[in-house]
């Protein structure tokens, strides 16, 4: 007997929650307890009184499982609302990465040129290294990191995706 796996598609969810202790553990724990995937998860307070947080989750799942993920998240007591941004329509996704590169001579010049193409900013520099700050969609950052590997990549820090719907309405 072999264990079958379902076909999955990637969706970005925005979960608006009451900012109570343990809320992140509730959300993350729900994903592990029910066997859902998390590709990335970001969280931050989004109201002036710090009472509400916005959690952006990138998950991959079959359409039926996605419906369950949204319903299960919505069932948690401190959750205000859940949006499947991918399903709901056009939205903007952005991620920020800090990319450390070490090198001298040609490598150094090539790194700077590539950074320029990708509109990455230099946020730290020594005579033998740079730290670049780059923002964009997941694919742009993946590609930038991949290119940096050829010119002396040391390490990468990524924020995970934040996302918001296009247009004038909330979500």
């Amino acid at each position: 007997m072999h264990i079958r796996e379902e076909k999955a598609e990637r969706h970005t969810l925005a979960v608006i929650v009451d900012n109570e202790p343990g809320i992140l553990a509730r959300i993350a724990g729900l994903f592990t307890a029910r066997g859902y995937n998390i590709e990335s998860l970001t969280v931050s307070e989004v109201t002036a009184d710090k009472s509400v947080s916005r959690i952006t989750i990138v998950t991959s799942a079959s359409p039926a499982t996605l419906e369950q993920i949204v319903a299960q998240l919505d069932r948690l007591v401190p959750v205000h609302r859940v949006h499947d941004l991918t399903a709901e329509g056009p939205h903007v996704e952005r991620e920020l990465a800090l990319v450390k590169v070490r090198g001298t001579g040609d490598h150094r010049i090539e790194a700077l040129r590539l950074a320029d193409v990708y509109r990455a900013r230099v946020v730290d520099a020594t005579t033998s290294s740079f730290v670049f700050e780059v923002t964009g969609g997941i694919e742009k950052i993946d590609k930038f990191v991949e290119l940096m590997a050829e010119v002396g990549l040391i390490e990468v820090a990524r924020t995970g995706v934040v996302a918001i719907s296009r247009g004038k309405d909330a979500a």
């Binding site: 724990g29 729900l30 299960q72 007591v77």
Partner: protein, 587 residues
Amino acid sequence: MVVERSGADILVEALVDLGVEVVFGYPGGAVLPIYDALFRARKIKHILVRHEQAATHAAEGYARSTGKPGVVLVTSGPGATNAITGITDAMLDSIPMVVITGQVPTHLIGSDAFQEADTVGITRHCTKHNYLVKNPALLGATIHEAFHIATSGRPGPVVIDIPKDVQVATAAYSKPGPIQHKTYRPALKADRSAIEQAVDMIAAAERPVLYTGGGVINSGPAAAQLLIELARITGAPVTSTLMGLGAYPASSPQFLGMLGMHGTYEANWAMNQADLIVNIGARFDDRVTGRLDAFAPNSRKIHVDIDRSSINKTVRIDLPIVADAGRAMEDMIRVWKSRQYAKPDLSAWWARIAEWRAKDSLAFPEDEPNGFRGEIMPQRAVRALWEATHARQPIITTEVGQHQMWAAQYFGFELPNKWLTSGGLGTMGYGLPAAIGAQLGNPNALVIDIAGEASIQMNIQELATATQYRLPVKVFILNNEYMGMVRQWQELTYESRYAESYSDSLPDFVRLAEAYGWRGIRIERPDQLDGGIADMLAYDGPVMVDCRVAKLANCFPMIPSGAAHTDMILQANEVSGTMDDEARALV
């Protein structure tokens, strides 16, 4: 000036304000201030159990039989961890329960202090919601909110973890008004157009089935009356899950019996052949559906559930209705009547059901081959118990296993809140403490735990609790000297290799009962059955009956795991003894 009181006093006062009459618990270091407050207040009856797991099951039994939330009070660390099984049980069966756990003082949290456990962390996934209260000023409101969450929407267990210093520190408390929660607003009332569509679908159906579950019981006794009315005006057959038994009278000719793994032939075939399934307050559990791709393949499906996450969880639904079962049925009946629909002619459908009924799938071999001659058939024992007691409308609890299924199959329930069993989690050891809780909530009722000799030992220490509080509960053990359901599966799947399923070194249950101050009765032969039951009922106190039943009797009909409703095993001689790996991998 506002009078400040200790957290422990606030807790007790809030419980009194919430109408709590009984608390099931066990004291310990981290709840001593609360116990002292209870002692001083003298307003709430505390039932001292012998193990914290039993406190949770007793609270479940109390809740399920009265409709009121069950309340549990245990200490930190082992007190809380011992309660986990019952909390999880209440979660899976949607039982309203509030569990108050003591915690080490706030400054010691995280230091691996004596009797410290991360109770909110551990219970996060087996509660509807949980709290760690670090500020005594928030304690009163938190307790009120916890009861609101436990009892509204889809009910469930809520844990409130209270550090010992918060129990001692003082704050002001005033009884809050109705709770308007920021984020938690369960949907109760159905969308009107969905109700109208449902009514039209029922009116147009040729082969409808009402498939009802625990949601009808959780909605309250009025919902059971509405179900009777809905069935009457639509003429549709009714089948019930294990958790829903009693919501519709078993004696009604429209009742097909329980469905699912050990359901009746007619219930499962009706589900399979239906053109419309109306699920009211059930959740398409795997014990009910069997193989999903063969489940009710030609039917459209309406699903009424108060929990949106139950919709489309395992079975695709044509018409979801997120609402309280009772309110949805009330709306359906109103729309049906306002449209002046006549009772549909379902005679062709009922004729087919009559053919399936003629199979008599609950017939059991008595004085028949297979070595049962002279032995008490467990099915007969349950039926005899029903005959002797049904006029008194007893509350029946069970443990988990074959005896549980026989009780579900052969004990006809006419009313809701009379049948208390561990359905979702399947917790052995549930029945005796649940019976204790039910007896406390219903002092004049006849409460019987139909048990197995293996399960009863899992919370046997609670015999003392019944003795202490003079609770006349009856325990009726169907003793076949096996963990019978395990043995049955080993016969089905592993060519009868009985790995560890024999109940060796059993105690003498009669003497054990007597040691705890109970009456003990042994029934060994069929001719002793009725007399033994009569003796049990005649005794005005707790009685344990050790009823020796046929050792190798099995529970049929049965749909093996992963099989379709149409692949039912009706008798033991249809058992092959082996299964392929796909089936073996299922529970």
